[in-house]
Amino acid sequence: MYVAVKGGERAIDNAHAWLAEERRGDISVPELSIAQIREQMALAVNRVMAEGSLYDPDLAALAIKQARGDLIEAIFLIRAYRTTLPRFGGSNPIETEDMTCDRRVSATFKDAPGGQVLGPTFDYTHRLIDFKLAADGEVSTVPVSAPQQTATPHIMSFLGRENLIQREPVGDDVPDDLTRTPLELPASRALRLQSLTRGDEGFILGMAYSTQRGYARNHAFVAELRIGAVAVEMDIPELGFAIEIGEITVTECETVNQFQGSKIQPPQFTRGYGLVFGMTERKAISMALVDRALRWKELGEDNLGAPAQDEEFILYHSDNIQATGFLEHIKLPHYVDFQSELELIRKLRREAHQNISQEAAE
């Protein structure tokens, strides 16, 4: 005799309790602090800030701790928190031209004002696991020199002087906010860039890679990659002028792409652009390549049918919070719909058997 089982509430409570235990892990092992994550897992923190669209390293570190290191879960926490934050206003556009560059490289010129500055990069490390790190994380002192005084103008500005690179339209209009207005297609470049900067790094990387392998190849050169701190300024109406409200680290990547001859203009280099919170260069470069691929229509190029050119495909599938939500929702009960499928297939099979036996009789 069947008695209807109840207990969903208790099951959830117990699941949460066990989760908390697993999150803490072996209690004889010291607990991670927010500061440790922020300092020693900085690149994870950067990714969470970038895809969470919220610049707060401590909060991102906390989210990573709560999410047990699952970065997409951490990004989710940040996004949900962000929704609840009140908005005081908008900042002025940041001036990356004035960036204090920790890292600044260009593939298009051997040298340029401001120099080629490697910064704290993994690029030339040999990927050999350093077993010494397991025991001893001591760092030898890094030699320090006097800070650089020369300005670091954008490499693109030199190309611009010769009119070799297309000019970007300048305007004072505030672009639509992707998190406040529903996405409608065709999307403006501003909305596309917003979507790319907070899109899943793996997805954007894959899309960028596909362009390099021939799916709408755009011959990208990294004109400049710069990483460093920029000031964030906001106009205060009561004061009548703008004040600096803080400083953030961003990664900016500008690519120069070969122009493949179109009906509209004489040859000029074209641009791809990437801008991401924190030191997040893989993402910034990927973003620049995909940005350029998505610009085929406004540049009068052909639609080659490549995935990276398909605005709808990219914008609808790059958000990993939407993606994982929908993917994982298939774990939820679907037995009512499955039941209706069962009934239908049984019925169709009955009818098919009837037809077969009728035909056999004839």
Partner: protein, 289 residues
């Protein structure tokens, strides 16, 4: 959660959602784009329904949440708790006592009244999506009332399977104008879409809200010679004996033994309280916790 506004969303956001709801009610079946917010539960787990509920709930409401027809499934529990925490509204499992009901995949068996609101969770709002992947194109098709492709699909089903092969999320035409996806309810529930209550549909991830006002004409698509049939399993509920409610099939032993019971747990419990007993049921008593 006292740092949060009533029902979690800030008033500006609720205003934006209410405007979308009003537009949806004014154009029955039309998908209104809205700026879906990131919620504390994942996209695909009911954020659309939650945002709609959050926008319509008032402190005086009584709230019911069901998933697969049951109040006690884990996601229904989770959503009900969310609103208990953030809105402090009274909650109930009794359909007749609820003023707002949020549902996933079922319409309650009991007829709803004019003072009740049914909020549906919708995964994919676009009925044409599986025939035409492009959103730009489907919006055009709706605007121009180009629904031939929808019937082509039904034609293909009949030519291949001998019958229309859609069992749930069965498309309907609303007030003779818009073709709509009623969310993944079994087709058995389609006739109930014509009701006295207000029906609101929220798709968070896809950023769409749509609505059916009370007493609106809702017709399930079919052919004249293959008319729509709201079918269910040919059984009665083994607990309460109901002949006319949608049934869950449960596997009870490893020899394929099965039993059928009402998917709508409140409907079943109410009938058993009234003394109805099914083939495998016992007279009503508080169920094992």
């Amino acid at each position: 959660m006292s740092d949060y506004n009533f029902a979690y969303l800030d008033e500006q956001t609720k205003r934006m959602i209410r405007r979308a709801i009003l537009k949806g009610l004014a154009i029955p079946g039309y998908q209104v784009p809205f700026a879906s917010r990131e919620m504390p539960m994942p996209y695909g787990w009911g954020t659309g329904g939650v945002q709609v509920s959050a926008a319509v709930l008032t402190p005086d409401d009584t709230f019911k949440v069901i998933d697969q027809g049951a109040d006690d499934t884990t996601n229904a529990v989770s959503i009900r708790r969310f609103f208990q925490k953030t809105a402090g509204v009274a909650v109930t499992e009794a359909t007749s006592q609820a003023s707002v009901i949020q549902t996933r995949h079922r319409i309650p068996e009991e007829d709803l009244r004019a003072d009740q609101i049914l909020v549906y969770q919708v995964p994919i709002p676009e009925p044409l999506r599986f025939l035409e992947p492009s959103e730009v194109e489907t919006r055009k098709m709706h605007a121009l009332e180009e629904y031939g492709l929808m019937h082509v699909k039904l034609y293909e089903d009949i030519s291949q399977h001998g019958d229309i092969a859609t069992a749930y999320a069965y498309p309907v035409k609303v007030e003779g104008r818009y073709v709509m996806d009623p969310s993944p309810i079994p087709k058995f529930d389609n006739p109930k879409l014509e009701m006295a209550g207000i029906q609101l549909f929220g798709a968070g991830r896809e950023q769409r809200i749509y609505a059916i006002p009370p007493y609106t004409q809702v017709v399930s698509l079919d052919f004249d010679d293959y008319p729509f049939q709201p079918t269910k399993a040919d059984h009665a509920c083994d607990l309460c004996g109901a002949q006319d409610s949608y049934l869950d099939e449960l596997l009870v032993d490893d020899e394929g033994g099965r039993m059928f019971m009402c998917s709508d747990t409140d409907y079943c419990a109410t009938r058993r309280k009234q003394g109805h007993v099914g083939a495998q049921g016992v007279p009503y008593a508080e169920d094992a916790a």
